[in-house]
């Protein structure tokens, strides 16, 4: 298979404009003759569905939650980047582009990233007009802050709830289209397969989560905005319902999967407290501005934090990275926390945590200043752990937070199946091997509001679509396959619950394909996963029936997909014999212990082609070239 990224060439500043001009348009009178399916209602899905509806297309929109407003974009705290340069501090589209390519450790396409930086300007305008209550200065102008180590203030925010407010803006725009009848919404409906007819994506098969009915919907194009796959690890900061089923089943129908091993770990999460733990909660990264990270110098030191004298504490980030200190990037902070815990110096009951201590800041600035800056976070921490972080240090540990990998898409956001578009976290496109803070929201909205509505028209205008009905044999075939899987799960009469398998898989993945990876560990995982998967299919116990609300059945289908995806992640991680961004292979590090990229061998995006469960997938490589930002070693010493 030949991978054609369809990236425009020539001066990068005008690539998107020239490309847009070259795209075919759909006549307004013809738009209403086309139906488009949008799956997922997070920032990408909701903004796409609303924008396509405004353009006059008939849109069918799906989400598994009870309302489109629940999608997990809602939980993003920090903010959204845009190169507005409102602060006159030297920001520009080019600088945002530069920072994003470099932050992604040179594993993203320059053309895509430049477009993202350009479009960031329009996103802010659009959101303000929709009534997103961004933070303001006293003068009434928009406020910005610096975020995630950026040297310019380009992050727009709405308290600690930026994701919520942006999503509600997109949700309201979507509801407006639902009100006019332009978009038809299907909540509590889960996509279980993709319908491909004559090589084109023509619809989806779904399960109505209330009645259990298996139904199909046909259209001229299908858009997936179904988010990332961090829940492979069981414990993550994702919502419980987040899953990879839509993208995975599209992958099995022929869409290539890009860079599956690129996952992001967030360093400041509340640690695991016990086996019953169901998810991990993120604490904003901003805490590292005033908190000092430390562990005891001595392994196995069980004393209370207050009993450990200053000279017996190891402020390991400050010691190892004197110039960035506690503010080193996410991947570096996470790996170091793991390392000290592996040395037996972790704290707390489980020994899998490090201290984040505000004692010195409180002494220096006063409790009221710290309360003003982080009051809500301290409260959240206390609510969950029952400990007062003003009195004793917080305990934190890294957790899976975001997945940069996803379905491979070209510059038009189309996958390798014609007519199947993938947007937001579900695709692999813009963040390379590591995503910068406040960039996820930007990418979701860029794809949904501005990129996809332009590019999808070209596909619709340049193809002919034979009318198909849901009685089409290809549709019936997919439906019977879906029904067969459901039946198999329900008839299994096994002994173990879905969650118990999911936990076991998660542990395995966290251990071998988490913060740091080795060839040996990955090989071990690759031999254990198929065993566990077979056991799952033999022994999983799903009660109830298929024709009612059955949450165990929903989970079982998702976990079955995680079992297959996890294998691909390990394979990709094993194949990539270098360290870059979130992918750290212990064999490939600099003498100082930092990630060592291999640009000669691995400056490509890996795109995997499915070859059947248990068979080795085919690897296709999309070479990455850097004409503007020249690869350098990231250093934070």
């Amino acid at each position: 298979m030949e991978l054609d990224s369809k990236c425009p060439t020539g001066p990068i500043e005008t690539r998107w404009d020239r490309h847009r001009f070259s795209l075919k348009l759909v006549n307004p009178a013809n738009k209403r003759k086309h139906t488009i399916i949008v799956v997922g209602t997070g920032l990408a899905g909701a903004s796409a569905a609303a924008s396509l509806g405004e353009l006059g297309y008939n849109v069918l929109c799906f989400c598994f939650q009870d309302s489109p407003r629940r999608a997990h974009s809602i939980a993003a705290q920090g903010g959204i980047n845009a190169a507005k340069n409102y602060h006159n501090d030297g920001d520009s589209v080019y600088r945002l582009f530069y920072d994003t390519v470099k932050g992604g450790d040179f594993r993203a396409r320059e053309s895509n990233v430049y477009r993202l930086a350009q479009v960031s300007l329009n996103i802010i305008d659009q959101c303000v007009a929709q009534g997103v209550p961004f933070a303001r200065e006293y003068s009434g102008y928009l406020d910005n802050r610096s975020f995630g180590g950026a040297q310019v203030s380009r992050t727009f925010y709405a308290r600690g709830q930026t994701g919520q407010q942006l999503l509600l803006g997109a949700y309201q725009a979507l509801e407006r289209q639902i009100g006019t009848g332009q978009v038809k919404m299907f909540p509590r409906t889960e996509m279980l397969d993709l319908i491909v007819v004559d090589g084109k994506a023509r619809g989806i098969t779904t399960r109505n989560l209330i009645t259990g009915e298996i139904e199909s919907f046909v259209a001229d194009a299908v858009v997936l905005g179904t988010g990332g796959y961090g829940n492979v690890y069981y414990l993550s900061t994702n919502a419980k319902g987040c899953n990879a089923t839509a993208i995975w089943r599209a992958h099995k129908r022929g869409a290539l999967f890009g860079n599956p091993c690129f996952t992001q770990i967030h360093p400041t999460c509340i640690p695991v407290s016990g086996d019953y733990q169901s998810k991990l909660t993120l604490m904003s990264e901003s805490l590292r501005n005033d908190g000092r990270v430390w562990v005891p110098k001595k392994a196995g030191d069980q004393r209370n934090s207050s009993e450990i004298p200053e000279q017996e504490r190891d402020y390991f980030l400050e010691r190892k990275y004197p110039s960035f200190g506690n503010l080193v990037p996410r991947d570096v902070a996470s790996r170091n926390a793991k390392q000290v815990c592996d040395e037996g110096r972790g704290v707390g009951e489980t020994r899998l945590a490090v201290f984040l201590d505000f004692r010195d800041s409180i002494e220096r600035l006063g409790k009221h200043v710290i309360a003003e800056r982080y009051g809500n976070l301290f409260e959240m921490y206390e609510r969950i752990t029952g400990e007062d972080p003003y009195k004793s240090p917080m305990r934190i540990y890294p957790a899976i937070h975001y997945t940069m990998g996803g379905l491979w898409v070209d510059y038009n956001l189309m996958s390798t199946i014609p007519g199947l578009y993938v947007i937001g976290e579900a695709n692999f496109s813009d963040h390379g091997a590591n995503r910068l803070g406040a960039s996820a929201l930007m990418q979701g909205l860029a794809d949904g509001y501005f990129v996809l509505p332009s590019t999808i028209g070209d596909y619709l205008a340049s193809n002919k679509f034979d009318k198909i009905e849901t009685s089409h044999p290809a549709v019936r075939e997919v439906e019977s396959q879906v029904a067969c899987v459901t039946k198999k799960l329900l008839d299994n009469k096994g002994t173990r619950s879905v969650d118990s398998y999911h936990r076991e898989l998660g542990k395995l993945m966290w251990e071998h394909c988490g913060m740091s990876r080795t060839a040996g560990g990955l090989e071990q995982a690759l031999s254990k996963i198929p065993e566990l998967r077979d056991q799952f299919w033999r022994d999983v116990k799903v009660l109830g029936s298929g024709d009612e609300l059955n949450q165990s059945l929903e989970k079982a289908g998702r976990v079955a997909d995680f079992f297959e995806l996890s294998e691909l992640m390990c394979l990709d991680a094993l194949e990539r014999n270098e360290s870059c961004g979130g992918h750290f292979r212990e064999e490939y590090q600099t003498p100082e212990g930092e990630a060592a990229r291999d640009d000669k061998e691995y400056a490509y995006a890996a795109a995997w082609e499915f070859r059947g469960v248990g068979n080795r997938p085919d690897l296709h490589k999309e070479p990455l070239t850097f004409e503007y930002v020249h690869p350098t070693q990231r250093s934070y010493k």
């Binding site: 309302s67 939980a75 659009q126 303000v128 009534g131 102008y141 949700y171 725009a173 407006r176 509001y449």
Partner: protein, 254 residues
Amino acid sequence: MRIILHIWRQRNASEKGRMVRYELPNVNQEMSFLEMLDVLNEDLTAKGEDPVAFDHDCREGICGMCGCMVNGVAHGPLPGTTLCQLHMRHFKDGDELYLEPWRARAFPVIKDLVVDRGAFDRIIAAGGFISVATGSAPDGNAVLVPKENAERSMDAAACIGCGACVAMCPNASASLFLSAKIAHLGLLPQGLPEREQRVVAMVAQAQQEIFGSCTNMGECEAVCPKGIKLENIAIMNRDFLRANWAGRPAVAQG
């Protein structure tokens, strides 16, 4: 610690429900309330009994999907807290807890503790938005918003649409939910052109959904996990009166 649960079990919308007693002998106080229900469901699955259906998603208090009545209080005893953020350390050994779904005619039960809150979406679809098509926005700083308005607007916009306000209201009124959106958009200059038609359309939709009338009891504010204030209802009522005097038609112009 030992916790005794009485949970509303109802197979589907048409079947009659009943309270069923369960005993959990080993509840860890570090667990969240929903993790306790997870443990119960694992036990039930092991025994071959149908697990309890309950809605949840983010488990960090922001998506608005979870919630049930705990001993008659929406989201349980801790103020300003969604059910997923409530931890078992706030209960004591031997406590007996009664869990019921949101109680309101406009929120029909789907199964056990799961209800249909689609009425909220239909209220937003009726007018809870600013009509701006993608691409037509001026520069973000072209319209200035006084900081105080932005803050008050944000206070109202923090609503997570969980439905606790309706569940707790003796009249099952949706006024706190409605008014939060009306205040959020009405306090911003961008929201002013549609302010009157918005309130008329949203209130009309709420009536159609058979939410009750507001009698200013304030139970909604007391249980709101996001601290949405009763004063929003005053803003809504004022807007509603003004819109009716102005004689705006009662239909949303989508």
